[in-house]
Each structure stands twice: as C-alpha cells, then as structure tokens.
C-alpha cells in the first residue's frame, strides 16, 4: 500500500469513526432495547481524555528511536511490572475466567494456574538475560550471535504470527464487548479501537503505551477488588460460606469444587500447560516490555510486581465467579425473558458485568464496562507496537536495508507508518472474523509462541553450540508444526471447519511441536560446519558476560 492510499484509508476510517456515535447509539436502543450506559461512556471519555494528555506528553519526550521503542529504558521496575500486568490481563481473560468459574467452578481456577506459573519461569529463565542482551525487539537477542538474514526473517515471522492471531482475538472481543456495553455498532466499535490504538502508538510510542497499560492495570485491579469485596460482604467475608451457597445453587453440586472434565486427559492438559508456560516466554509484546527498564535488577522487580498483580487477580476472579453462581444465576433480571437459569443476557461472557450491576447498580456496571474498554485498548496497543517494531526494525532495517545504515529517526518514522497500516489491518480482520469462534486463536498464539519463538530464544541465550542454520530451521519447524497441528485439531478442524473427525487429536500442539523445534535446532546445529557456526560458538563467552553482568548492555538514555 503506498502512502497516498494509506492516507485515504485513514481519512475514510476517521470519518466513519466520527459518524459512529449517534448512529450506533440509535441502533442499540432500537436493537435490544437496552439503554445507553451514560456512566460507562462518561468514565470512558475521562479515560480517553487522560490517556490523550499522556500521549501528548509522551510525544514531546519521544525524541530518539530508543525513546520510541523502549521508552528510553527509563521506566522503573514497579511501573513496568504494572504495565506488564496490564499487557497480560486482557478483557477476554477477566470476563472469560469469571464466566468459566461461573459455569464449571474449579476448572476455571485450574485454567488460571497454567497462565500464572509461566511468570516464575520467565523470571528464572528469561527476564535478566533478555534485558541485558536486548534492544528493541526480542529478535535482537537471537541475532546477537546469529546475525543472519534467515534467522531475522524466521524470528520476525514467528513474532508477527503471534501478534496477529492475538490481535484478531482482541479486536473481535472488543467489537462484541463494546457493542454490548456501549450500544455502539460492532464495526464502529472496532474502528474506534483501531483509531485510538493508532493515536497512542504512533504519537506516544512505548512511553504512551506503557502509561495506558499501567493506568488500566490499576483500574482493573481496583474494579476487581471492589467487586470481590462487595460480593464477599454478602457472605460475611467467609469463603466457606460462599462455597457452601455456590454448591447449593449450582446444578453440579459439590462436584464444582473439584476437577470436572476439562483437564481429565493428561496428554491434552500437559500440552496446554507447556503452551501457556513457555508460550508466555515467547510472547513478543511481553518480552519487549523488559527493554523499557534501565537494568536487570528492575527487570526482576517488574516480574515480581507483575506476578503479584496477576496471581492476586486470578484468585479474585475465582471468588467473583463463585459469588456470581450464588448472586447472578438466581436473579431473573440477568436472563432473557426474566427467567433465572435460561440464556444469560448478552451472552455467557457477561457474568462479571451482571455481578457488578447486582452489587453497585448502573454506576458500577458503567465503571467496569469502561475499564474493560480501556483494557482492550491497552492490550491492542502493546500488540500493535510489537508488530510494528518487528516489521520496521527486524525486517526493514535489519534485513531489507542491512547493507546501509538507517537513522533512528527514519526507523521511528517508518514504525509510525507501519502502526497505521497494522491498525487498519486489525480493523479489517476484526470485521472479517466477526461472529466467528475465535477462541482457538488464543491457543494458536500461545502454541506458536512456545514452539516457534521460545526454542530459538532459549537456545541462543543458553547453548554455546547453536548456529544460525539450526535456529532458522528449528524455529520454522516449530512454526509450521504448531500452526498445522492446531488447524487439524478438534477446536478448528471440527468446531470451526465443520469436519466430522479431527485429524490431530489434541487442541494444543506444544507437547509435540516444541520438542520438535528443539530437536531440529539441535540436529541442524550439530551438522552445521560453516565458518559462521564457528564464529557463533566463539562469541558465546562474551554474550554470557553481558547476559550475566550487564556489561555492555543498553543503558537508560539521559533526559
């Protein structure tokens, strides 16, 4: 797409966005008879106002490429930890986990543990080294010793695959959620998300993205805490009495407090575990956040803060889900036709929002709805920045223009343009995938991250004998096998594509595709007798010094 076309497309979307409010609102009022939530819109505009002010301030401070990509490495561990939590806890996670607990009880809690246990692992294996070796994207770390066009391309491809799969999920979720909560039409909701994301990232770069994520993390934790405390007050702050009531009300009875059928197959749950734990260690937008702190010490603090927030949020979501069983499932107001036990108003993901209405009326519902919209923006911005840096820094600067030097200014300029394109593509994908079951894309993103991104990254940091060819073919094997297996899995082959039998029996591929990637890296590296392979081995000692001590690592820029 050339620049003129880009400009025209932006103008088109901007005008559509401006028209969206009155039309969308009218449609919603006629559509399902639900009134516009004025509180939600009010709070949301306050959030947008504040984040625009921050973006304006961030834009003034964004002078160099380093400011743009990594906030000048000047974010503190505490701030970054909150931003990491904000990046990781998406609206889909919060709403999805609460409704999973509401429907299946204990299985929802088990699901959370897999998504939590990756945090100690990312601290022990990755955080410090990633900080000491990295610069703008995690591909820089792999390329530290293995600077090879094929390696950069493969790693960027893995990174972009994860970013786009995740982005589609977020966009579709955003459209549906905003449509429900704000009474805005699906397409306009998605266009608004796209425009806001483009504004944050193009003008404010990593500094604005960080603050949007940080504020949102504080808001979502405040909202969840308030919801939990108000709900627990109904049970005299006694967990056992809450559990007793939940067991009485739920059709499953006592069984909901123990494992149900969701994780009964050991192979399948092992594969899911590997995907969530090691997939986290290969998520480009999460890894990128480690470059925003000045040193390894602050990187560690980031993980501690993030793990505290995320662990706390998962426990809170479990309590909220159980309380919803007692409070929401017995209240006719929240069901179609007013009959408790029928179809939940707005669909199964609305449990947490209904509980908010039950606890604090329209005011609390409005607040939580606004926080959810803010959450979507924060996550989408982080993804867009990671995707845009991958295209401009990894592919354009280090592959296409590797023979010449590209100034930092030109790199930032390009990244801004790429962000606009990513925003437009995200909006289009959101519209294309409307109404589709996109839940499998989350699993695809985690499986690809664990199979295509994590093995190259880990071996390049830990194994002396790894070579560029090994990493390239291993990463590619992980990428192709994980995408292939997930497509042939029951979740896609049967549920989405409608075939009668799945070819691959498990929904998650990591148990097979991750070891395959490591195996290919090992074998190809062992067979590689090229001079480049020798050089990579020799460079290991120096890389190790930098990884362990931070000697020669990128410092914080001076402002």
């Amino acid at each position: 797409m050339n620049l003129d076309q880009t400009k025209r497309a932006v103008a088109l979307i901007a005008s559509a966005g401006l028209m969206s409010l009155p039309q969308g609102a009218a449609a919603a009022q006629q559509g399902d008879g639900r009134p516009l939530n004025v509180v939600a819109i009010g709070i949301f505009f306050v959030f947008v106002g504040i984040t625009f002010a921050i973006t304006w301030w961030a834009a003034k401070r964004t002078k160099t490429a380093k400011d743009f990509f990594s906030a000048g490495a000047g974010i503190s561990g505490l701030q970054n930890g909150l931003a990491v939590a904000g990046d990781y806890l998406s609206a889909a996670t919060m709403l999805g986990v609460v409704s999973l607990v509401y429907a299946r009880g204990y299985d929802g809690l088990l699901y959370c543990i897999g998504f939590f246990i990756g945090w100690p692992v990312i601290l022990l294996l990755m955080a410090e080294r990633v900080r000491n070796l990295g610069r703008y994207t995690y591909v820089d770390i792999i390329a530290y010793r293995l600077d090879h066009v094929g390696v950069r391309c493969m790693a960027a491809l893995g990174s972009l695959t994860v970013v786009f799969f995740y982005l589609i999920v977020q966009m579709v979720g955003a459209g549906e959620l905003v449509q429900l909560m704000f009474g805005l039409q699906y397409n306009y909701a998605i266009i608004s998300v796209g425009i806001l994301m483009i504004v944050y990232v193009t003008f404010g770069g990593m500094i604005a993205t960080t603050w949007v994520q940080l504020i949102k993390a504080v808001l979502i934790m405040f909202g969840a805490t308030l919801l939990m405390v108000l709900a627990l007050a109904h049970f005299n702050f006694d967990f056992e009495s809450l559990a007793q009531k939940a067991v009485q009300v739920h059709a499953g009875g006592n069984a909901i407090m123990g494992p149900g059928g969701l994780f009964s197959d050991p192979v399948s749950s092992l594969s899911l575990s590997l995907a969530t734990v090691f997939g986290l260690c290969g998520m480009p937008h999460i890894l990128m956040r480690f470059f925003t702190v000045p040193n390894a010490r602050e990187a560690r603090t980031s993980v501690l803060v993030a793990a505290t927030c995320i662990g706390y949020m998962f426990v809170a979501m479990f309590v909220i889900g159980l309380a919803s069983i007692v409070i929401v499932s017995t209240d006719g107001r929240f069901f179609e036709g007013g009959h408790a036990g029928g179809k939940l108003l707005g669909g199964s993901n609305m449990v947490a929002l209904h509980l908010a209405t039950a606890m604090g009326g329209n005011l609390f519902l409005g607040f939580l709805a606004a926080v959810m919209f803010a959450t979507i923006l924060a996550v989408v911005s982080g993804l867009a920045l990671a995707g845009a840096s991958s295209i401009s820094h990894d592919i354009y600067v280090n592959v296409l223009r590797r023979k010449t030097t590209v100034s930092g200014e030109a790199e930032v300029h390009l990244t801004r343009k790429v962000t606009i394109v990513i925003g437009i593509v995200a909006v289009l994908l959101g519209i294309v995938f409307r109404g589709q079951n996109v839940a499998f894309l989350v699993s695809l993103a985690f499986n690809v991250a664990a199979s295509a991104n994590f093995p190259p990254l880990l071996t390049s940091m830990y194994w002396r004998g790894v070579t560029a060819r090994g990493v390239m073919w291993g990463g590619l094997a992980g990428l192709v096998s994980s995408v292939g297996m997930v497509i042939l899995s029951p979740a896609v082959w049967k549920t989405v594509l409608g075939h009668s039998h799945a070819i691959f029996p498990y929904d998650h591929s990591a148990l097979f595709s991750m070891p395959l990637a490591f195996l290919v890296i090992y074998v190809v590296s062992k067979l590689d007798r090229s001079p480049a392979a020798e050089r990579a081995k020799l460079a290991f000692d120096l890389q190790m010094v930098r990884a362990q001590t931070g000697l020669g690592a990128e410092g914080a820029s001076q402002h």
Binding site: Y106, L109, L110, C112, I113, F116, I117, W119, P120, V121, L123, L124, L125, E128, F239, E240, A243, Q244, A246, V247, N254, A255, M257, G258, P259, F263, S264, D265, P266, S269, L270, S273, A296, R297, R300, T301, V303, L304, A307, T308, G311, F314, V315, D541, L542, M544, V545, R546, Q548, T549, G550, L551, G552
Partner: protein, 104 residues
C-alpha cells in the same frame, strides 16, 4: 580498556565462574520445585481427581483441590520473591565486585 577486552577478562575470572554456577544452581532448584509442584497437580487432576474433590473439613464445601491450587499460586509467588531477593543481594554484589576487580 574497552568493553571487549574487559568482557574477555571477566569471562576468564574466577568470580565470574562462581556467579554463573551459583545463579544456575538457584535457578535449577527453584525451577524444579515450581514445575514439580505444578505437574503434581496436573497429574492428580488427570489420575486421582477424587483426592482433589475431598472436602478439607467434614461436610464442608472447600476442597483439597482449592487449597492446593491456591497453595501453588502462592508457591509460584514465593519462588519469584526468593529469586529476586537473592539476585538483588548476592548476585548483584558479586557482579559489581567482579567488574571492579577486572577494571582495576
């Protein structure tokens, strides 16, 4: 002395070897504690779910499974905290000392 010379001298220094070994030892033990605990839970879910369904108190609704799940979340947090503490004190001190020694 430029960074490259310095890095070469660091890599040959005895303190550097000590730093690397001690960090690796701590990482290995914390990793195994965390992952073993987690995979025990996964194994129980798959093979002995009835253990997790037992109530903590007779007639109560809170089960062994809930307590174990929350305990594993807590354990994950404690592992994170222990590593951060040890790295901030021991490893950082060792690393600063090492760089001073080499720079001299």
């Amino acid at each position: 002395m430029n960074n490259l010379d310095m890095a070469e001298r660091v890599s040959r220094h005895a303190l550097f070897k000590e730093l690397v070994t001690r960090r690796a030892r701590l990482v290995r033990s914390l990793m195994s504690v965390g992952l073993v605990a987690y995979f025990i839970l996964i194994a129980l879910v798959a093979f002995r779910p009835q253990i997790l369904r037992m109530p903590v108190e007779r007639g109560g609704a809170t089960t062994v499974g809930v307590v174990m799940a929350v305990a594993i979340l807590a354990l994950g947090w404690i592992i994170t905290w222990i590593y951060v503490r040890r790295a901030n004190s021991t490893f950082d001190r060792l690393s600063v000392h090492l760089l001073e020694e080499v720079a001299r």
